[in-house]
Amino acid sequence: MRVATDIGGTFTDLVYVDDSGQVEVAKSHTTPPNFEQGVMDVLDKSEINKESISTFIHGTTVIINALTERKGAKTGLITTKGFRDVLEIARGNRPDLFNIRYQKPEPFIERYLRKEVDERLNYKGEVLSPLNTEQVKEIVEYFKNENVEAIAVAYLHSYVNPEHEKETVKLIKELWPEVAVSASHDVTKEWREYERTNTVALNAYVQPAAATYVNKLHTKLTDFNTSSQNYIMQSNGGTTTFEEAKKVPINMVESGPVAGIYGAAVLGELIGEENIIAFDIGGTTAKCSLIEKGEVKVSTDYYIERTDRNAGYPIKAPVVDIVEIGNGGGSIAWLDDAGSLKVGPQSAGAVPGPVSYGQGGTEPTTTDANLLTGRLSAKNFDYDVDLDLVRDTIQGKIANHFNMTAEEAALGIIRIANSNMLNALKLISIRKGHNPQDFTLVAFGGGGSMHAPALAKELGVGKVVIPIASPVFSAWGMLMSDLRHDYIKTYIKRLENLDLNEMTTQWNEIESEAYQQFDNEGIKQEDVVFNRFADMRYLGQEHTVKVPVPAGEWTDEQLQNIVEKFHQLHEQNYTFRLDDTGTEIVNLHVTAFGKVQKPIVQKIERNTTLDDAKIETRDVYFENPNGWVATDVYQRELLPVNEEIQGPAIIEEKAAVTVIYEGQSLKVDDYGNLIIETGAR
């Protein structure tokens, strides 16, 4: 049996597929700081036979927590002489333009733990000064005295020639086998010393915590099952083994959230949709990502703690491209100093949560607005809902200011929240040169189905899919994932004088490294699938375009095709092409999949009628036409297959609700997904 568990902020989710192909789910509370306990709890709660687990896949927040809570190891850094302050100078940018008291992100490694050695390469990777090993020994001694727990090594131009870094790591391991050590070229082979140094610094910083966690989880799992294959979800939408995960733990930084995006792509394949906008609304944020022709976009333009006010910290790990905004079910509605209504980014969180939870929440949230307008039913809350308190709160905090009823104000909150989310969806679609009409919106997470039909119509998307297991869809995505590694290497070459033999050698080197890594993970060569990309640009420009390129040795004709493909993609992304300007490769990127057996999703059999599924008819407050409308409410699990329901209507399921509007229609497809026609042209 294949089982996936996903640790979230509030809940730890579990999804498995039994032998008959049925998808089953379970939820239990997340248990910080001993997260592995929550995993054990949810396994118990699901009542599965733990001995029959053949594959265990896990998404974890341990890495991102260690970073955001600053609970990593005491870390030392070794750099090229003259450059230990690169980590502190960073890039000098200040997103908060008018703030004279801008607080620059503090480096994760203090200055006294940043040490320099004599060694120098030029940009071609040629050695100008050899590595001074005596200095490395002195630094190791110094770090020992300072009780350092992890060491990062980052030298200039190591992405071209990693020899000095390798030599340093080897020496450190000889001198001090117990310390965690990582070299920048092992974590990223891209140029730009600040970004690479920061990435390896953060990798070293989380390494001991990651190892401890993975080991503890492994021990607990082997208590009852020694034969299962255990995998961890990485930020690139693929998995890796526990052992490999410990080597470059920073690759797990977005372990959980990306699985839902990947799941949307898998689901699209199943139902014949290859262009998808994946949309995930949780308690505090909404995330979206664009999938084109079935391809989940992965890049290394990832930052933590980056906002429009803060520069954040770059991590050059391969991460699925996600745009995230501070709008979720728990987002707080408030009035600014001049009396305009705003929603988010502050969230009521899990505790105290929205007013409707009755756990001491005092600020109105999107969830409260959805309750007051009849979109949510008080009966479906885990708490005793005091509807009057919810109404009074919205009346007092929002509605009175505008001289209106609480329901009108609640609808206002929903509209403003939708407006925020719509801007995020536009950011990944229209503003990147895509036409939303060519896409299907796959919505999941606790709040995705609630808002998606309205948003899709605004955006001009014709079809919305609410997948099976939508509230725990990230875990479902994990079940369907393969092993994956991304190899990205800066390799600056102009296309007009490209040495095709050397090119082939470069690709082969990367791919044999991949075979080696998959071999460590027990994946045979015939199960490994490669896709090659080149990040390309016009000479003199900075920004690049990721161009799919063919496998094998390139011919001159293929080279011409690659250049043409680049021109096309550049025009799509940046509106123009420069046919007479030279082109240049910046990075080589190989995505490598280790294919594993995945569950087959079965079609559902259901002999029910709409009457069976109908729960009630209740009044719901809508915007257009404005007012209370008697709306039929259905139980998702009982809906008959392929029977159409006209909006307005509400579909309830455990932990999620779907709202469709007048002019929209919905049906359940063969697999149990909800398919909504939004009425957009």
């Binding site: 003259g82 703030n99 010393e193």
Partner: protein
């Protein structure tokens, strides 16, 4: 209540306002994406936005701080020249870079303005302004530190029509082509600007289609009033009275200076008045700043003082008033050269900052590097023999403030989302190697909260015949501290020649010749300190010593803390008691 003035529901207005802001963001992104020039898509040295039909700014996307408010002056200039007798029509685009006539900065920053019509009525303007790599003039790259009049600085566009009713003025394009050194780049940027303007026009029209023109016009008024309301609320919280400061623009680049400048700031419940009268007259070298530049300088610091968080529109600036003598260094008129206007502009921002820092410590700080610290380095690459050109600002120290140490290694306040060039990128592209890129540790900027560190960036020339033009303002007067904090240092550079000779320090220098293995050592200033250094917690001082931000001696003499250089154990000295 504002909301009661209209029957349109407040949430629709809010959503329309958001849509206008989103349109502004989209225009901003569109320009970076379509530009061919690194100074635009890397340094983000441009701004774009929307104004109402009167030229009041509604939303502005900024990559750099210094352009704030300049768009509205371009639109107002357009209205002055073409507004009467229906001389503006759909499809018009006006080009402006005249610093004294709506442009505001220097000739390199070229602005475009497009009126937006709906149902035959002028309802808004789409505008942007971007630093072109080339606009002609005496030096490659156009902006220079030793021009003597505006004619040496390049081609001037005195608000003329680039498009007339949608028809391109081809003669103008040919003139540009003939007068600039890299016409492909300059015209490429011009087309990118045109495309971004059209994006703005399209979005505004879509919003009109969706919500109706009246809703949009109401939302626009509402937006401006919202900005004003927030601004006035903040103004009420400020200390009232008159505050003054004096300072200098150190040099005009051609041997004159320093030039005294001064301000008197009067804050009342309703007004924020900045009176610069009595400052130096306009000067022979290119540090003159036009009134529009001065207005941006004042707006920048006004926002920092009132509400750095909000979306900026012209409503926010309604309480502002600026008084200045004619033809002064900060209200220069034709034909004064303005290439390095930003140094005077920074000086004006700094004056208000300095006058108010002791009184508004929760929003202000001690002095920061106070110069763009611009570096131009040209030559040829050692391997390819291809020519290269580095044009970059430099990072330096920011001042300490109540409750926080100053940031180290940041660009000056007039920059913003500006990124330094990575060492690995520089060494690949340019004919240089870097000997170091490190914090400058010079013992200055002590305080309860210390000034941020400047940096040392050392370029080693890898070929003969390289040429460096450096404009490091604030080279003579050290950065001021506040609240008892000590002064920071100055910006300066040295040349360590291959034969061992050391030349310098210098601040502003045109075209310094470098030979192979000469090292250009650029050093930016440490920011001023905030508060009495003797009040800095002793354990923090010991940490500073351990981190090598200050020496054992400095800990003793400046901070009154004795720190053991081996164990970093410490004790407080009598000077602290």
């Amino acid at each position: 209540m504002l909301m009661n003035e209209t029957k349109i529901d407040p949430f629709t207005l809010e959503i329309v306002k958001d849509s206008l802001l989103a349109a502004g963001d989209e225009m901003f992104i569109a320009l970076a994406k379509t530009s061919m020039s690194p100074i635009i898509y890397e340094v983000l040295d441009y701004a774009s936005g929307l104004t109402d039909a009167k030229g009041q700014l509604l939303t502005q996307g900024n990559g750099v701080t210094g352009f704030i408010g300049m768009l509205s002056y371009m639109v107002k200039q357009t209205l002055n020249k073409y507004g009467e007798n229906d001389k503006l029509k759909p499809g018009d685009i006006i080009v402006i870079n005249d610093p004294y006539g709506g442009g505001g900065s220097h000739l390199s920053d070229v602005g475009l303005v497009m009126p937006i019509f709906y149902d035959g009525e002028l309802i808004a303007f789409s505008a942007n302004k971007a630093h072109w790599t080339e606009v002609g003039g005496k030096d490659p790259g156009s902006f220079t530190n030793d021009s003597r009049d505006i004619f040496q600085e390049g081609l001037q566009f005195p608000s003329v029509k680039l498009f007339d009713g949608g028809k391109l003025n081809e003669g103008l394009v040919e003139i540009i082509q003939a007068n600039v050194r890299f016409p492909d780049l300059s015209l490429g940027d011009m087309w990118a600007q045109v495309a971004a303007l059209k994006t703005g026009e399209r979005r505004v029209k879509e919003i009109c289609d969706k919500y109706g023109k009246d809703v949009i016009l109401t939302a626009i008024d509402n937006q401006l009033n919202h900005g004003e309301t927030i601004s006035r609320q903040e103004l009420k919280k400020l200390p009232k009275g008159t505050f003054s400061a004096n300072g200098f623009v150190e040099t005009d680049g051609i041997g004159n200076g320093p030039f005294p400048i001064k301000v008197e700031v009067t804050i009342t419940d309703d007004e924020f008045v900045c009176d610069f009268r009595g400052s130096s007259q306009q000067v022979p070298g290119p540090v003159n700043c036009s009134f529009t530049g001065l207005a941006s300088a004042v707006r920048t610091i006004f926002l920092a003082i009132t509400n750095p968080d909000q979306n900026v529109n012209d409503g926010v600036f309604r309480p502002l008033k600026i008084i200045v003598d004619d033809r002064s260094i900060m209200s220069a008129e034709r034909p004064a050269p303005t290439s390095n206007y930003f140094e005077t502009m920074l000086g004006c921002t700094d004056l208000i900052w300095k006058a108010l820092a002791p009184h508004i410590p929760h929003r202000l700080a001690a002095a920061h590097l106070l110069s763009v610290c611009s570096v131009t380095l040209s030559g040829s690459h050692q391997d390819t023999n291809e020519p290269f050109l580095i044009v970059e600002p430099s990072v330096g120290g920011w001042g300490g403030a109540d409750g926080q140490d100053g940031a180290s290694g940041q660009f000056c306040v007039l920059d913003g989302e500006t990124y330094n060039v990575p060492v690995e990128v520089a060494e690949t592209r340019y004919g240089v190697m870097l000997d170091e890129y490190s914090l400058r540790i010079d013992g200055t900027g002590a305080g309860e909260y210390i000034g941020g560190k400047g940096v040392i960036r050392s370029y080693r020339a890898m070929t003969d015949g390289q040429e460096a033009t450096i404009t490091y303002g604030r080279n003579q007067y050290r950065l001021w501290g506040t609240g008892g904090g000590l002064e920071g240092s100055v910006n300066e550079f040295y040349i360590e020649k291959a034969d061992g000779e050391v030349d310098g320090p210098y601040g502003v220098y045109p075209r310094y010749q470098l030979h192979k293995d000469d090292v250009l050592k650029l050093m930016t200033a440490t920011g001023g300190g905030y508060g009495d250094p003797l009040k800095r917690p002793a354990d923090q001082v010991a940490k500073d010593v351990k981190n090598e931000y200050y020496t054992v001696d400095e800990a003793k003499t400046l901070f009154g803390v004795a720190v053991d250089p081996e164990t970093f154990e410490y004790h407080e000295l009598d000077t602290r008691k």
